[in-house]
């Protein structure tokens, strides 16, 4: 059985990144400081990859109910650049049940471009 999950748009601001740095303990300045980010060849301040992944995991939990995710993986293909005015990350997914195992294949984009690929959650009943 295949179910399409209703897509969701998450607004991401610099303030969210500051809060996430505090909450996660990941204080890498490329997630805060424009100058530092540019000095290492990035187009600007970028979101933590784990933050973007956590948004996608949350999307799955909100659809499937918490406590069901047993595996989660993704490839970071493009950084989520967060300008001063903020940006939007769009998450959509397709849930498939096969042999009693449910998997959700996710699409995670920013400005219409994939930021995660091969993003997949495995669920238990």
């Amino acid at each position: 059985m295949t179910t399409e999950l209703e897509p969701r748009t998450f607004r991401v601001t610099r303030q969210d990144l500051v809060a996430y740095a505090e909450a996660s303990g990941d204080h890498n300045p490329i997630h805060q400081d424009e100058q530092v980010a540019r000095s290492v060849g990035l187009p600007g301040v970028i979101a933590h990859g784990m933050y973007t992944m956590a948004l996608a995991a949350r999307f799955v939990e909100e659809h499937a109910g918490p406590g069901r995710v047993v595996g989660f993986g993704a490839k970071f293909v493009k950084p989520v650049v967060v300008p001063v005015e903020g940006t939007e990350v769009v998450v959509s997914g397709v849930q498939e049940e096969r042999d009693g195992v449910a998997t959700v294949t996710l699409s995670v984009t920013c400005d219409g471009v994939d930021v995660l690929r091969g993003c997949k959650a495995t669920l238990r009943d």
Partner: protein, 179 residues
């Protein structure tokens, strides 16, 4: 020739052999380093994380930790450093010294045996899973370094219970010259 950190020149022609030999050495060490979380899983940290994510969920407000937080409990915070024998750090530092100075996270795969609860103390081990390269990528030439973290809860009876694992891959690369 590339300049080493102390200005010592290392011959480039044997660079790949040196890198793969070091990778093999570190991989053979297995779960070579470990660190114990500074604090038990606690509701305040979970709450801060949920607020930062703009996420609310009764279950996570009442003692269970979101699985995406696994890393948070054992993250080396400000002023704390990873153990010196940490396999990922050792490998990435070796690559830095060989000229692959830049780093970018490329893949992350987590699996959860169960969700941890407030009051539990986590311990994480770190191992080098694999090194592959050199590869030409959009960012520049580099090596993919995959590490494996395993989180445990140690019980009073001496049993170590694995609660989560994570494979994390980074690309260590030579940044392209910018025009």
């Amino acid at each position: 020739m590339t300049e080493g950190p102390a200005g010592t020149a290392r011959p480039v022609d044997q660079r790949h052999e040196r890198i793969m030999a070091e990778a093999e050495r570190i991989e053979a060490l297995g779960e070579a380093s470990e660190s114990v979380a500074p604090y038990e899983v606690n509701q305040a940290t979970i709450g801060t994380w949920l607020d930062a994510m703009g996420y609310d969920n009764e279950r996570f407000r009442q003692g269970e930790a979101p699985p995406s937080m696994a890393q948070v409990w054992t993250m080396p915070g400000l002023g704390r450093r990873r153990p010196p024998e940490d396999p990922l750090s050792r490998m990435t530092e070796f690559l830095t010294d060989e000229g692959y100075t830049a780093v970018l996270g490329t893949n992350c795969e987590q699996s959860y045996e169960r969700y941890v609860r407030v009051g539990e103390l986590l311990r994480v081990t770190s191992a080098l899973d694999s090194v592959a390269g050199p590869k030409r990528t959009a960012m520049g030439e580099g090596y993919f370094v995959t590490s494996r973290n395993t989180w445990y809860v140690d019980h009073p009876d001496g049993r170590s219970e694995k609660v989560a694992t994570m494979l994390f891959r980074v690309l260590k690369f030579v940044p392209r010259e910018r025009p």
